[in-house]
């Protein structure tokens, strides 16, 4: 029983990180219907900037964190402003391909600038510190990841529900032309969505980095699982993305412990497949049909 609870705790913690990545993807999808394949590498480059400031420039964490987040916002906005906005007569597939190209640029730059040697990210919360509750071990970093995940989700929920900008973002996704006619500055909305998404991705990178190593490949697996979480929960539902992340983390860890570590990596693919067959819009998103 203790093992089961331990797996649940670990699953929820890593699930929070998947949830954050899923949220970052959903924010862009909600505003532009674009699947951002550069999400993982946008997080990697921001995490590397944090590493550079902390380990190589000796900045205190309190200064490096906002700097890395600000850099992430800039990277996200640059992607929208320099690449997606420039596309002539873009269709959705074309925009998605542009994000793939941007991913390759970011990956190449990160590898060139910092090399591919794995690095240890200095972080104020120890990745191997933990406290015990009746035999249950809860890592400090795990607890922080879980809490931050909840806080970000709550803020986003309030933002989209109660702020003008949040509502404008939703309107932009539902009908860009009408949103523009209604006076919404859709270009700014898109810019903001990309910036916000990149910042959340950066947060996920900063939480995942200390638990392993910082290297150009660090987000490949988490980004895939974040994407699977978003599909699981529903690409247009913030709440769904968060729930999808938790489910993904827990299912993956339960499968790894009780069934097989060898086939653990297959779980997200299987989940994507099953969800796409049974409920294409995801578990918690409303099925959205565009009328002609």
């Amino acid at each position: 029983m203790l093992n089961f609870l331990q797996i649940m705790v670990s699953g929820l913690a890593i699930g929070s990180a998947y949830g954050l990545i899923a949220l970052a993807m959903v924010i862009i999808y909600k505003t532009s219907e674009v699947l951002n394949f550069a999400q993982g590498d946008m997080a990697v480059i921001s995490t590397f900037v944090a590493y550079y400031l902390l380990a190589q420039q000796g900045w205190p964490f309190i200064a490096a964190l906002p700097a890395a987040l600000a850099f992430a916002v800039l990277v996200g906005m640059a992607a929208e402003f320099l690449f997606l906005r420039r596309a002539k007569k873009p269709n959705l597939l074309g925009l998605i391909i542009i994000t793939l190209g941007f991913q390759m640029i970011l990956f190449g730059f990160t590898s060139w600038k910092w090399g591919a040697d794995p690095k240890d990210l200095p972080f104020p919360v120890s990745p191997f510190g933990a406290f015990e509750l009746g035999g249950l071990i809860i890592g400090h970093l795990e607890a922080l990841t879980f809490l931050l995940g909840l806080v970000v989700m709550a803020i986003l929920f309030l933002f989209f529900r109660f702020t003008k900008t949040g509502v404008a973002m939703k309107a932009t996704q539902q009908n860009l032309a009408v949103a523009r006619i209604m006076g919404i500055r859709t270009r700014r909305v898109l810019l903001l969505a990309w910036g916000l998404s990149a910042a959340i991705g950066c947060l996920a990178g900063l939480l995942l980095g200390p638990a392993g190593t910082v290297d150009p490949y660090m987000m490949w697996d988490p980004a895939l699982k974040g994407f699977a979480s978003a599909v699981l929960g529903g690409m247009t539902s913030l709440f769904g993305a968060a729930v999808g992340g938790y489910l993904m983390g827990v299912v993956e860890n339960l499968f790894g412990f009780y069934v097989s570590t060898e086939f653990k990596s297959v779980v997200p693919f299987a989940i994507i497949l099953i969800v796409l067959i049974l409920k294409p819009s995801g578990l918690l998103a409303r099925h959205y049909v565009k009328k002609v």
């Binding site: 331990q6 590898s111 591919a116 040697d117 933990a130 200390p210 993956e252 570590t261 653990k264």
Partner: protein, 393 residues
């Protein structure tokens, strides 16, 4: 009728192809003043920490060239970044091999999968290849006339480690965490064989997928198994994740690992200082050694290595794997041909550079079988040698 026409055209194409191939003379890779040697190595990508191997070889060749070369010829070194991607390895090797003046022989080359991608190509063309940078059984099963392996087999390393742990440390409750690829499986195979000799079985075997970044379920399984010794045959990133996750879950077995993770300063850095008291197999002398070879190479490193290069195990491995090749080139004499080079390599007996003893003969293609067992100290940065050079046989 159409069928017959097609058959004739096909036969013609095939005939021309065969004649064309047979007619193309193999480029020698040797001129009056130069010997062209090639090597692939990941300078970017997930295996980039091992990219220092190819750079180490470059420094060795520069040192030799500055000393007058070999029989009046300078070594022209062609190194390319294959990103540990077998498709890129094959494309790069073919391009260099088939372009004037060709490559005389290939040195080292990181990785089992990249090496396997070009092994048949090189052997069919009778191009010598010395010191593949992976301790795989593939290089010598069966032995190939033009392939001289130097890296001790992972299979042997694992046996030596288990033998040491059982006989000297009196360990008996093992678990094995291994990369689910050729490298990991070779280690697993060796460890199981040696355990069997002692009437032991591991309490658990846990494979790690290449892309896995969350290893909590793996570590919980290890902890749950009650193993007091974990043999870890994984890559550096997975080793770092393993150590950090285990520390968070308060699991503190005796960690044991392969020569691929024997770079203590690097491992200590990426594990946040957790790389303490780790037992490992060493195949290269300690970089801090003051042996004559090591002193000479250190001077070359300071003179030729690029800024930012680290004096570490992987860099030195690039020298160690190629030392026998240099011996072979010297022994082959001034009239250098691939046949003479192979004969010269076969005559190498008990050569001792910065690795264990290296010997080849007409049948033997695994030159070095020796590793030693060592342990990192309380800082995790330095190593304490526990045994002399050992072999399984």
């Amino acid at each position: 009728m159409r069928g017959w026409q097609g058959f004739i055209v096909l036969a013609l194409i095939l005939t021309l192809g065969v004649v064309g191939t047979a007619g193309a003379a193999e480029l020698s890779g040797v001129t009056k003043t130069e010997i062209h040697i090639g090597q692939w190595g990941p300078q970017t990508g997930p295996a980039a920490p091992w990219g220092a191997v190819a750079r180490g070889t470059g420094v060795l060749f520069q040192m030799i060239n500055d000393g007058g070369g070999i029989h009046g010829r300078k070594i022209v070194y062609h190194m390319f970044d294959d990103q540990y991607n077998p498709a890129k390895t094959k494309a790069g090797v073919k391009e260099l091999q088939e372009r004037e003046p060709g490559i005389f022989a290939w040195a080292a080359g990181v990785g089992t999968a990249p090496g396997l991608a070009v092994k048949d190509y090189l052997m069919e063309k009778k191009i010598p290849w010395v010191g593949p940078s992976a301790g795989s059984l593939h290089w010598i099963t069966p032995p190939q006339k033009y392939l001289f392996a130097v890296y001790p087999l992972y299979y042997d390393e694992a046996q030596i480690l288990v033998r040491y742990l059982v006989t000297k440390e009196k360990k008996s409750k093992f678990a094995i965490l291994y990369a689910n690829d050729e490298y990991g499986k070779n280690g697993l195979k060796g460890a199981l064989l040696e355990m069997d000799k002692h009437g032991l079985k591991p309490v658990l075997e846990v494979p790690v997928g290449r892309a896995d970044r969350d290893l909590k379920s793996h570590i919980m399984k290890l902890k749950d198994s009650g193993a007091d010794t974990v043999i870890m045959w994984v890559n550096p990133t997975h080793a770092a994740i393993t150590m950090k996750t285990a520390a968070a879950l308060k699991y503190e077995p005796q960690w044991v690992t392969s020569s691929t993770l024997s770079d203590a300063p690097l491992m200590s850095q990426i594990t946040g200082g957790l790389w303490k008291n780790v037992i490992f197999a060493g195949m290269i002398e300690d970089p801090e050694s003051t042996s004559p070879y090591m002193t000479k190479y250190r001077e070359a490193f300071e003179k030729y290595a690029q800024k930012g290069e680290r004096w570490g195990v992987f860099f030195l491995a690039g020298i160690g794997f190629v030392e026998p090749m240099v011996q072979g080139l010297k022994k082959a004499g001034p009239n250098l041909t691939r046949a003479r080079f192979v004969t010269a390599m076969e005559s190498i007996k008990n050569f001792k550079g910065i690795m264990g003893n290296v010997s080849f003969d007409a049948k033997t293609r695994q030159g070095c079988n020796e590793v030693y067992v060592a342990k990192t100290d309380e800082t995790g940065m330095k190593t304490i040698r526990l045994t002399d050079w050992m072999t399984v046989r």
